[in-house]
């Protein structure tokens, strides 16, 4: 419906500023879509978690970046790569956008609480996205997470 076909009241209505959803909704919906279509993604997540558990989540060989939060903090997004990057290692960033694919919230060393915003979650409410679900590598590589308690967060990114 273009503006020209609207009467003045309709145009006035269209000019009103709507309440927006939180960025977390984007993540939840896109996660729901990607999660079903991407068997590859699930395999990757499972592999990442398995290695993470084996290495106590923070080992130098961990396949997913790990950070300890006492919120709010800015987390660097260390790599946008189809192959999961080691924590802190810089990986060449492909052109285009990157999207945060998975965030795992871990209560204690080596113990998974569950998948954030997924189905079997405990204490997921302790972590919420505040902003930047889509990261443009050229314009800052940060993912802002907010949690009321100190927590360990395992997260990963891949090309969009």
């Amino acid at each position: 419906m273009d503006n020209e076909s609207l009467d003045p009241l309709e145009q006035e209505l269209r000019g009103l500023c709507l309440r927006r959803s939180s960025p977390a909704l984007d993540w939840r919906v896109l996660r729901a879509c990607v999660g079903v279509s991407g068997l590859r993604l699930w395999l990757r997540v499972a592999a990442g978690v398995a290695v993470g558990v084996a290495l106590g989540w923070g080992g130098s060989q961990a396949t997913w970046p790990v950070a300890r939060l006492s919120a709010p903090v800015e987390l660097p997004v260390p790599a946008v790569a189809p192959v999961l990057a080691r924590s802190g290692r810089a990986v060449p960033v492909p052109s285009g956008l990157a999207r945060i694919r998975q965030v795992w919230h871990v209560a204690g060393e080596g113990r998974t609480v569950g998948e954030l915003n997924g189905v079997s979650v405990r204490r997921a409410e302790q972590v919420r996205f505040e902003e930047v679900l889509v990261v443009e590598p050229e314009h800052g590589r940060t993912l802002r997470l907010v949690t009321p308690h100190a927590a360990t967060v395992l997260y990963g990114v891949e090309p969009y």
């Binding site: 419906m1 009241l9 309709e10 009103l16 909704l25 919906v29 729901a32 879509c33």
Partner: protein
């Protein structure tokens, strides 16, 4: 439905979908849950649909929002506006600002069916035919709801300003 199609529809219509859910639930959190649940269900089903996919998604979000309201039952809530908090533009005259405030309140206070029609038409940009399909009512019905909504808004602006 193909998850990629769903993702594309979400990206194109996320504001309209959320506003529709909010217009029904009147609670921001419940509206987000409704949108999420609808997409999760559609992705899980994976079934193709004979109708316009966009319409199908709007209908699904609406159903999820209605379910939320049913589950909530009679518990009292403070209805949230579908609009953002008012931030007056310093260039606006006092009358213009008052008119805007009144218009927002008037939309929020429309009967649910009329509010839905305004959201779907103005903010989601659906055609009357798509609206009729999404709401499961005949086209003349939805057109009449929309027309009555506009008349009511005009009346309120005239009488209260």
């Amino acid at each position: 439905m193909d998850p990629r199609s769903l993702e594309a529809i979400y990206r194109r219509h996320q504001q309209g979908l959320y506003s529709l859910a909010l217009a029904i639930t009147r609670q921001p959190e419940a509206a987000e849950d409704a949108v999420h649940e609808a997409f999760a269900r559609l992705c899980a089903l994976g079934a193709s649909t004979q109708v316009d996919e966009t319409v199908y998604v709007f209908a699904s979000v609406r159903n999820a929002a209605v379910d939320h309201v049913r589950q909530r039952g009679d518990s009292a809530i403070t209805p949230a506006s579908i609009f953002n908090g008012h931030a007056p533009d310093p260039r606006d005259t006092e009358l213009a600002a008052e008119r805007e405030r009144l218009l927002r309140r008037a939309v929020d206070e429309l009967p649910e069916e009329q509010r839905e029609a305004v959201v779907l038409r103005i903010y989601a940009g659906l055609t009357f035919e798509q609206m009729a399909q999404a709401l499961g009512v005949p086209l003349p019905t939805v057109a009449a709801r929309y027309r009555r909504a506009l008349e009511k808004l005009k009346d309120r602006l005239q009488t209260e300003l």
